[in-house]
């Protein structure tokens, strides 16, 4: 495991969609090491906090040595990150965990709900680069909260919004039926409730669970496997660790009945 730690300079800050911030940092060794779906533990100097915060690399570019992170302002850590600007330094630890397994063949469908989209720019680039046909299904509350389709060059993008302000009026999971080609592989990230709905829907569509990969979130203490805080239930008994066994996992390795929705909102 090639894990880097150290300071990375923020080289770009933007607002990719409403409410979200994208920070681009420069750290060549880390950028070169990232596999799509992996995450970093970012140190935040927000009042009263002590833990680093896990953020998926939205994308990483070994050539330029850059890594992008996309996040919403939810609480103390993301609030602090959101006011970083060009020239500021970020203390990062990573890349950590397992990314998606991108080495199968055939068409791929991305199902992204809300900020779950943050992990996919790099994933889609890698899938397209492998010559796979990619359909990106994006869901958000409202159109302004959708990451623009041009962030997924080479992929087909379909959108769904809760308020009908863009694309399909309803859940992104509903788009699945229309998007499905032949035995596609599904990659998903989003709120736990959306992932559960996806699993439920795919069961009905008779998509085998093992052809779905999800990127999971759980509260993390360390990000490296030492605190055992990020447990997620396995089928049967026992637990996996989101940080070591995930965050990207085949859906059949997770006990969807015992999973807890740790983050509200």
């Amino acid at each position: 495991m090639s894990v880097a730690i150290g300071l990375a300079v923020v080289v770009e800050r933007s607002t990719p969609m409403r409410g979200a911030v994208e920070l681009v940092v420069h750290h060549p060794p880390a950028a070169a090491a990232v596999k799509p779906g992996q995450f970093f533990q970012l140190a935040v100097a927000a009042p009263q906090t002590i833990l680093r915060r896990p953020y998926s690399a939205a994308w990483a570019d070994p050539q330029s040595g850059r890594i992008g992170f996309i996040f919403n302002v939810v609480g103390a850590g993301s609030g602090w990150l959101a006011v970083r600007h060009e020239g500021h330094e970020l203390d990062l630890l990573g890349p950590l965990g397992r990314g998606f397994d991108l080495d199968r063949t055939g068409p791929a469908i991305i199902v992204a709900g809300g900020l779950g989209v943050a992990v996919f720019p790099g994933v889609v680039r890698a899938l397209v680069g492998r010559g796979r046909h990619v359909t990106v299904l994006l869901g958000a509350r409202t159109s302004a909260q959708l990451l623009p389709a041009d962030r997924f060059p080479g992929a087909e993008v379909m959108t769904a919004t809760d308020d009908g302000s863009a694309g399909y009026h309803g859940s992104v999971v509903d788009l699945l039926a229309s998007a499905r080609g032949e035995g596609p592989e599904i990659f998903s990230c989003g709120p736990t409730s959306m992932l559960q709905a996806l699993v439920e829907r795919t069961r009905r569509l008779e998509v085998p669970l093992r052809s779905i990969q999800v990127s999971l979130e759980s509260p993390m203490g360390c990000g490296v496997g030492t605190c055992l805080g990020c447990a997620i239930p396995r089928p049967g008994s026992g637990y996996l660790l989101t940080c070591l066994d995930g965050p990207c996992l085949a859906a059949d390795r997770i006990n969807w009945d015992r999973i807890t929705d740790t983050f509200h909102g």
């Binding site: 140190a43 906090t49 759980s218 030492t226």
Partner: protein, 310 residues
Amino acid sequence: MAELLDLSVDLGRGLRLRSPVMVASGTFGYGFDAPLVDRTALGAIVTKGTTPTARDGNAPTRIAETASGLLNAIGLQNPGVDQVARLYAPVWAQWDVPVIVNVAGDAVEDYIAVARRLDSTAGVAGMELNISCPNVANGLQFGLDPRMAAHVTASVRAVTRLPLLVKLTPNVTDIVAVGRAVEDAGADGVSAINTYVGMAIDVHRRRPVLSGESGGLSGPAIKPLALHAVWQLAAALSIPVVGIGGIMTAADALEFLLAGAAAVQLGTVNYVRPQAVREIRDGIAAYLEEHDLRALGALPIRPVRVEAHV
């Protein structure tokens, strides 16, 4: 100059550390997962709490951040002593840093069973009895009562010649009484302290955040409390006190050493700054030089009991 400094610590019964900076149980796994740690700066590794048989641990949610603190209710997830002895200990035997196994259980028999299994295992440099884990049914009970604490200590002492630390819980009216009891029962040292029982409530969902309702609080939030416990223990006991609780910086570690701790353990900080072990060790060395002290033994402020003030 630096070479003249003696940072070694003798914890008794042959357990000699080259540095007073250890890593605390539950924050370093079994020594295999923590990346980027400079092992040459480490005094010793204390493993995750280990029970006679493997345990799955608690359901999520297991951890929650609080103001300058971390609540955890892991529930002693561990692979069981057999795997530890068979797979991990042989690797440790090759390492240049002593590994101390943290021992946990629900009953005295559990502690005895783990201790017996480890006693003759190469690679195990010592044991730390966790009589204070707040996350299992009866684990806490031993540490709450001096007699129970003495009983489990004596029982383990009887089956092992390994160096034996007993890790105290701070959730008591009189930690010194428990410390004295385990000293008398044969402990080679006490580790102080384990976490403080606390909880957090999710106001949106209107339920406790942790699946086990309560959990143990660690991190800088508890440092002043832990420091006071160590200050009292160091004045009362004649065995070494290992100071634990909220250490993030060399200055924090020095507070414990000045309070009379023989060594310190770093817990939560390992999650945040993997290089803390090295930074803190070096910071202690720099402080000794700056104050013209040659060895750690010169650090403690004499804990003279101050008369009640006006």
